[in-house]
Symmetry: C2
Subunit: 309 residues, 2 copies
């Protein structure tokens, strides 16, 4: 799947992933009205609104981008109907030949991580049959529990030719609280570097043609750290959140890429899916929210190609 991700990136010339994080406040009124007219102001109604909103955006941008990243929390908050909308979104994006990165940030002890890995990337056994649960192409994984929390994901990736992105240095303001702590037993280097080295080590046995299918998450909001991590993990694909709404800019992304112009894929969520609420794209109007998203993708591609590559 890492090979397909890279192929999609080369074909679209856009190292961009659109974060499908549909908060209700971003969903245009006409979509909510139609959904609530059909299902009422219920969890099912919210799920229908999310799904229609997503479908509009995917239809408008799928030819421009290699991948999407639905954030499962935004669906899970609406309970079972919300998760059904997540699954519908995953399936639809795969039909459109997009690589789907499930932003699930799971991670647990061995047997439990195995269940997550099976549920999101692999097949679960039921009697003599087996089924895909959510069937994303990649998922994000939290490393706090160490190797025996991550290895079950890697094992399923090997079987299924899929991949993971492990949290290394996250984009949020307080990511440094634990991730930046300097380690006495590692020459006073910060924890995120040690996690990054471990990711490179896990990844070295999981190589696609050019890059490993064990990737890393490093926030655009921390360009200096991105530069160091890029060097520590040369064969690791970096998923870069934090562009746009969170403050990261094209020029901040320079050092996340390798000299081959590959090695990083930049996520934007609100900046794309809620583009119509931004002054720059408000001319499209709420009804044409998906056209605003398309324009925002084109601008993001330009920003990255001119300032980061």
């Amino acid at each position: 799947m890492i090979n397909k991700l890279i192929e999609n990136i080369k074909n679209t010339n856009a190292p961009i992933v659109v974060g499908l994080d549909p908060m209700m406040k971003f969903i245009p009124e006409h979509i909510k009205k139609a959904a609530f007219d059909e299902y009422g102001e219920t969890l099912e109604g919210a799920a229908e609104a999310i799904w229609q909103f997503n479908k509009g955006i995917v239809d408008a941008v799928y030819d421009l981008i290699p991948a999407v990243k639905p954030q499962i929390a935004m669906y899970e908050q609406f309970g079972i109907p919300g998760l059904a909308a997540f699954k519908k979104t995953v399936d639809y994006c795969k039909e459109k030949d997009l690589v789907v990165i499930g932003d699930i940030k799971r991670g647990d002890i061995g047997s439990t991580s195995e269940a997550y890995a099976v549920g999101h990337l692999g097949k679960v056994t039921v009697g003599s049959k087996s089924y895909y649960g959510f069937d994303e192409d990649f998922v994000t994984v939290n490393p706090y529990l160490g190797s025996d929390g991550v290895n079950p994901f890697i094992n399923v990736c090997k079987e299924e030719k899929k991949g993971i992105f492990v949290l290394v240095k996250t984009s949020n303001p307080s990511s440094g609280e634990f991730q930046d702590r300097k380690l006495l037993d590692a020459d006073n280097r910060p924890l995120y570097e040690i996690v990054g080295e471990q990711v490179a080590k896990w990844g070295s046995e999981c190589m696609g043609d050019e890059y490993s299918y064990v990737g890393a998450v490093v926030g655009a909001t921390y360009p200096e750290q991105g530069k160091i991590l890029r060097e520590l993990m040369p064969k690791t694909y970096i998923l870069v959140p934090g562009y746009g709404a969170q403050g990261g800019k094209g020029a901040d992304l320079k050092h996340f890429f390798n000299k081959d112009g590959l090695g990083a894929i930049v996520n934007s969520s609100r900046g794309i899916i809620a583009a119509y609420t931004n002054d720059r794209y408000c001319k499209y109007g709420e009804k044409n929210y998906a056209d605003a998203s398309r324009a925002a993708v084109i601008d993001m591609r330009k920003d990255i190609s001119e300032n980061a590559l």
Copy 2:
């Protein structure tokens, strides 16, 4: 909810939580057969088997225990039907007046953690209405992203009078890989101590009558670390996994408790729910798996009261 948890513990005289982690291999054949006869060997069939299995155990032990801890991964692996069985289990346990600790180990950046918190502990807004998604009483939270990943959970807990347990030192063999790293900027103390101190700090503003509703997860498999953390977090309830199948014994738990006999609640999953597969309880037979679970709860209560309290 921390007050209710403590009240339940006092009433049952059992600082015990039963981990409802229903792996298919633990579910007796007659339950699987009935479920597959009705729904086929499908995800729905698996979900029905899980639900019936859980119901049998809960009916057999609910009067002996204060709380249950369903591990969501074991349900999520069966996709949407699995998660519906999770929700059914949560609701049923609450009907039985058990405190429900959702072992979800979520954690993300601010707005995303807020969605998880709303979905699992609080109410989500849909138009002019609001709904509980999964509605557990407590959930487990991963601290790797720092305060702005944890605070949204705390905020929802304040509104809803619920609680969280933050991962501090997990029970798995490789938990030390990152959690034990010694920090130069904290007098060479390990990361888990710093996380523990932060948990105590978060918790100090979230007090129930005697203990905080911001708790910690510390594995029974690390008794020495448990002793240190107990002292660092005197008002923090500790959820202790790792007893039984993972190797933790009653005597290892001594230092997890405070002098008041409170402050810790010990989880056993396989040791209780799959007791019938253990030589000690196999006399009950597979059909009477729930009676075996009841016997195992009684023995666990005895072990803890004789060796740990």
